[in-house]
């Protein structure tokens, strides 16, 4: 980790299913970002295609390596050749014989070529109400923590971050930065901070940041998809749980935020909850009364 890290969160509005147009829009954002220092660029969930694809997901899925090469080409074409940057991008992934809602963490622009650092496959696939992910996709089975531009980090895609255990596990595994690409249809028109769904997001993210002393970067898709308005709301939280910056719900934009390593040390010294959890964790984890399916199967 290196002191301060400059981040750009691109709240994008893709054209549905139009990958070339969306890659061109990505290049435009890259061009715009050449004028100032940037170490990490984050795009939302399903940023390459739009979110609601139904059966077309099989026609619009990419392999991670292929996609990484395309992102790297766009970065270099935008003027970033020889200038290293890390990019996070949500996409539908073709992985062997299965399809996933994934996010790629790729290192672009370096002299030694493109480097896929990590692929997170969404673990919690919402399949209720307007959501139908598990009908078309396979869920990921692993929450990985990896080296980012800001020390160890983890990616949680949308509903992944709604389960308090996910940020907890990531933090216990050493993550100091949580990156949350999302595609969240806005619901509820009387929230404290506008949309109720965005109010809920901010409550969840602030809580995860403050409890574990981690930075949280949330990048939301925007634009309407068949009447469903993706609610943007791209934002960042400090390790104290403070909202550092927040975008509106409806317009594409680039949100800039600087992450400071020192803030994590201060937050964790002031409120050492993660340390406390590490100490108590064995008692919680090894509790025979927790109904874990595999354990129950073994017992019967």
């Amino acid at each position: 980790m290196s002191g301060t890290v400059q981040c750009a969160l691109v709240q994008s509005k893709p054209r549905k299913g139009d990958v070339p147009a969306n890659l061109a829009a990505m290049r435009d954002a890259f061009v715009q970002l050449q004028d100032a220092p940037v170490d990490l660029i984050v795009f939302p969930e399903a940023a390459l295609t739009g979110y609601f694809l139904e059966g077309a997901v099989y026609e619009l899925a990419f392999g991670a390596t292929e996609l990484a090469a395309r992102v790297d080409r766009e970065w270099r074409a935008a003027g970033g050749d020889g200038r290293r940057v890390d990019v996070v991008l949500g996409f539908y992934e073709k992985f062997g014989g299965t399809y996933h809602n994934s996010a790629l963490y790729v290192r672009c622009g370096a002299a030694d070529g493109v480097h896929v650092v990590h692929v997170h496959r969404k673990m919690f696939l919402p399949t209720y109400g307007i959501f139908d992910e598990e009908r078309f996709l396979t869920r990921g089975r692993h929450l990985g923590v990896f080296e980012t531009a800001f020390g160890r980090g983890a990616i949680l895609i949308c509903e992944d971050a709604w389960h308090a255990l996910m940020p907890t596990v990531a933090a216990l595994k050493g993550a100091r930065l949580l990156i949350v690409p999302s595609a969240s249809p806005g619901r509820g028109l009387c929230g404290e901070d506008g949309l109720e769904s965005n109010t809920r997001w901010k409550t969840l993210l602030a809580s995860a940041a403050a409890e574990h002393g981690v930075y949280v970067l949330y990048c939301g898709l925007t634009g309407f998809e068949g009447g469903k308005g993706m609610s943007g709301g791209t934002c960042a939280f400090s390790p104290h749980g403070q909202l550092l910056v927040s975008a509106g719900p409806l317009e594409p934009c680039i949100v800039r935020v600087a992450l400071d390593e020192a803030e994590i040390e201060i937050a964790r010294a002031t409120l050492p909850l993660l340390g406390d959890l590490s100490a108590v964790l064995p008692d919680l984890w090894l509790d025979d009364e927790i109904p874990i399916a595999r354990r129950l199967e073994e017992a019967t």
């Binding site: 609601f52 139904e54 806005g186 028109l189 009387c190 309407f224 009447g227 308005g229 409806l250």
Partner: protein, 282 residues
């Protein structure tokens, strides 16, 4: 010492909306669905003089500019003159285009072959004739017909199937009637339009609440609770009679078919919208 008791009230999910946010959301919706997705910058809508089409006219004017909104009055010979003047007031206030196309001759042209048609059938013929005109006027102006049905009438089945529900884009279909009222006040719809008793104006002295047998204020709260999964006794406990709850739930349960496309016999593993699934906007 006796301690004071602080008792929780029976909660009820709110129907309140932030009208400014709602307008912002719906204007963005119209721009995205019409211009960004379809490349169409003009809207055609039937302006009845009632609150639903008034609100949609205000939203379209904001989203597209008044010059791109083509409102059409579609009176039948029995339609109330006040409906026509209310529509004129709305169009004048917004500066949108307004045209009147009388449907009497077209409707009567068919009804002369259906002398046994009762008021309900006649009303359905008028509603379907109006939609025929709106689609043709849309083709004439390279525009898109915009729907004006609200969530309450959709849930109660209080509309003519394949008529009021036909336009491909509807900005207010997920707003209950009482929410449409709140939006109308925020948008500055003339109070005469906001405050008058809602009516389909298909028959003399007809009112929606008379037809439905319950006020919108009550119906909307019951509908909201029904949709959220509350059982009848839990709904009644929030201040309604059993008959009111049964009336509303009954209308919802009997009209699911009106909120779907026609039922198609499934014969293959490639049946459209059953196996072959693609989103509307791909």
């Amino acid at each position: 010492m006796t301690l004071p008791i602080v008792e929780a009230k029976l909660g009820e999910p709110s129907l309140a909306i932030d009208p400014a946010l709602t307008v912002e959301w719906l204007v963005a919706f119209l721009r995205d669905e019409m211009i960004a997705r379809r490349g169409i910058e003009r809207a055609v809508l039937g302006l009845s003089g009632g609150i639903d089409s008034a609100v949609v006219a205000y939203l379209c004017a904001r989203a597209l500019g008044p010059g791109n909104v083509y409102a059409v009055r579609l009176p039948y010979r029995r339609s109330s003159p006040s409906s026509l003047s209310d529509a004129q007031t709305i169009a004048d206030a917004l500066g949108i285009n307004l045209e009147t196309i009388e449907i009497s001759a077209a409707v009567d042209g068919y009804l002369q072959y259906a002398p046994d048609a009762d008021a309900r059938r006649q009303g359905n013929v008028m509603a379907r004739m109006r939609m025929l005109v709106l689609f043709d006027q849309s083709a004439r102006r390279n525009a898109l017909p915009i729907g004006t049905g609200n969530k309450t009438e959709r849930l109660m089945g209080y509309f003519t199937w394949h008529a009021d529900d036909t336009p491909p884009v509807n900005p207010i279909g997920d707003l209950f009637k009482t929410q449409v009222w709140a939006l109308a006040r925020h948008l500055g719809v003339p109070s005469r339009v906001v405050d008058k008793a809602p009516s389909a104006d298909l028959e003399a002295n007809q009112t929606d609440e008379g037809d439905l047998g319950i006020t919108y204020a009550k119906a909307d709260r019951i509908l909201n609770l029904v949709l959220l999964g509350y059982r009848d006794d839990a709904i009644a406990a929030r201040g309604f009679t059993r008959d009111e709850v049964r009336l509303v739930r009954g209308r919802v349960d009997r009209t699911h078919w009106k909120r779907h496309l026609p039922t198609t016999a499934l014969l293959s593993s490639t049946a459209i919208n059953e196996f072959y699934l693609r989103p509307v906007d791909l």
